[in-house]
């Protein structure tokens, strides 16, 4: 019998997984906002080209994904992470293209990725609900 997806079907959009990612982001931020009885005013993400997520598409999907949530109207800031590899042979670290992870210094292809595949919700900036200022008691 075929599995008909439930909630995730309604949360899917043709050929754009960034919307799924965006819904996940909104849910994560909402959970934090609920906990602190606040609304989200700013989100900071850290995204590398090798995460498979496109920052521009995330920005476009965000207003749709956040409509009616505690994140509606929040600023979405995305910091790019550079693609950086470390070479175990010549011990050098280099910033490289996403599809060329070879050590540019010595040509060794057995490098290890230092950064570039991140897809991280770094922080959430919250604002108290009107009249609810007392809930913001935890340290920044």
């Amino acid at each position: 019998m075929p599995v008909r997806p439930g909630s995730y079907l309604t949360k899917s959009w043709p050929a754009m997984h960034e919307l799924s990612v965006c819904y996940a982001l909104v849910e994560q931020a909402e959970a934090i906002a609920r906990q602190r009885k606040a609304r989200v005013v700013r989100l900071l993400l850290h995204i590398g080209p090798l995460s498979g997520v496109e920052a521009g598409l995330l920005r476009r999907a965000f207003p749709l994904a956040s409509a009616g949530s505690a994140c509606e109207g929040a600023a979405l800031d995305i910091e790019d992470a550079p693609v950086s590899v470390h070479c175990p042979e010549c011990k050098k670290s280099s910033v490289v293209a996403a599809n060329k992870l070879i050590c540019p210094a010595c040509g060794n292809w057995r490098t290890s990725l230092e950064s570039g595949d991140e897809m991280v919700l770094q922080s959430v900036e919250l604002e108290a609900w009107a009249g609810g200022g007392d809930v913001l008691s935890s340290p920044a």
Binding site: H17, G52, N99, L101, I102, T111, L113
Partner: protein, 284 residues
């Protein structure tokens, strides 16, 4: 997430929360909360739950990804035929529509569940979990998850699989790894499929395809296969046996740390507190 003891502040992000840093203050009633969670943490959580299912039932779970038409289902048909009587196989099929692939697999005599994603371009861990409950996992040695044909989106979603396999068929061209680095970097094995067509498609060079893969600093096996003769998938069958043996060995040692295929989320600044695994909450 641990946002009580401050342990999620690492040397890498400390500058953001130090005095004068981007998120240091709470001017005008605002506060900033460090999160440092993968954007797909909910999916990843479900994926680790799926992994517990696989562990409990001693199943090797393999996620097959490729372009549409690269030969995933044909490979599975040939694999099932070759391993009949030796290993028990089950398959989860992902497609936007139709039961066609699951039907093909069932005709080979093994259980198959079709996930029709509607318009979604990838499988996620929740969809796979629903399908797991429709399979007799106790009697299964290898579970193949045939992902939606797509070289982009499936690479970003951990399903709980032990290994990712990417197929690159000869008609597609030998520069696909350079064009789709995220997908091919996520693979634990790359199969050059339909190599029986090499004689009529001399523009495809297996050596160039492998060089394109190595350009992504990938050290994984690159195996040539075709399903036109029984010996055409032998390198793939050998690889499958090696993975089963390795998984068995890892389980005996009680250390499966090298048996989770989640390379895409490698640099998430994961902290133990951020990755707590909660107990299974449903019937296994």
């Amino acid at each position: 997430m641990c946002d009580t003891c401050g342990c999620n502040v690492t040397p890498g992000n400390q500058h953001l929360v130090e005095p004068g840093g981007k998120f240091s203050h709470s001017a005008s009633g605002r506060e900033s909360v460090e999160v440092l969670q993968n954007l797909l943490s909910e999916n990843d959580h479900q994926a680790s739950h799926n992994r517990q299912h696989f562990a409990r039932h001693q199943v090797l779970a393999l996620n097959l990804m490729s372009s549409p038409g690269a030969g995933k289902t044909s490979l599975l048909e040939a694999t099932i035929k070759a391993l009949k009587g030796e290993l028990n196989i089950a398959v989860i099929e992902g497609d936007l529509e139709t039961e066609n692939d699951a039907r093909r697999i069932r005709e080979c005599g093994v259980p198959a569940v079709q996930i029709t994603t509607g318009s979604a371009c990838h499988l996620d861990a929740h969809m796979v979990h629903d399908a797991l409950h429709q399979l007799p996992l106790d009697d299964v040695d290898i579970l193949f998850i045939e992902n939606v044909g797509n070289l982009v989106c499936p690479a970003s979603f951990d399903l709980g699989q032990h290994r990712n396999i990417a197929l690159l068929s000869v008609p597609e061209g030998d520069d696909k790894p350079a064009k789709y680095p995220v997908m091919f970097r996520s693979a634990d094995a790359v199969l050059i499929s339909k190599t029986d067509l090499l004689q009529v498609l001399p523009e495809f060079s297996v050596a160039r395809a492998e060089a394109s893969l190595r350009g992504l600093a990938s050290q994984v096996p690159c195996l040539s296969v075709h399903t036109r003769s029984s010996s055409g998938i032998q390198p793939w069958l050998d690889w499958l046996h090696s993975q089963l043996a390795e998984l068995k060995d890892s389980r005996q040692r009680g250390d499966l740390s090298n048996f989770t295929s989640v390379p895409e989320h490698g640099h998430v600044l994961m902290h133990p507190h951020l990755q707590q695994v909660t107990p299974l909450d449903d019937e296994l």
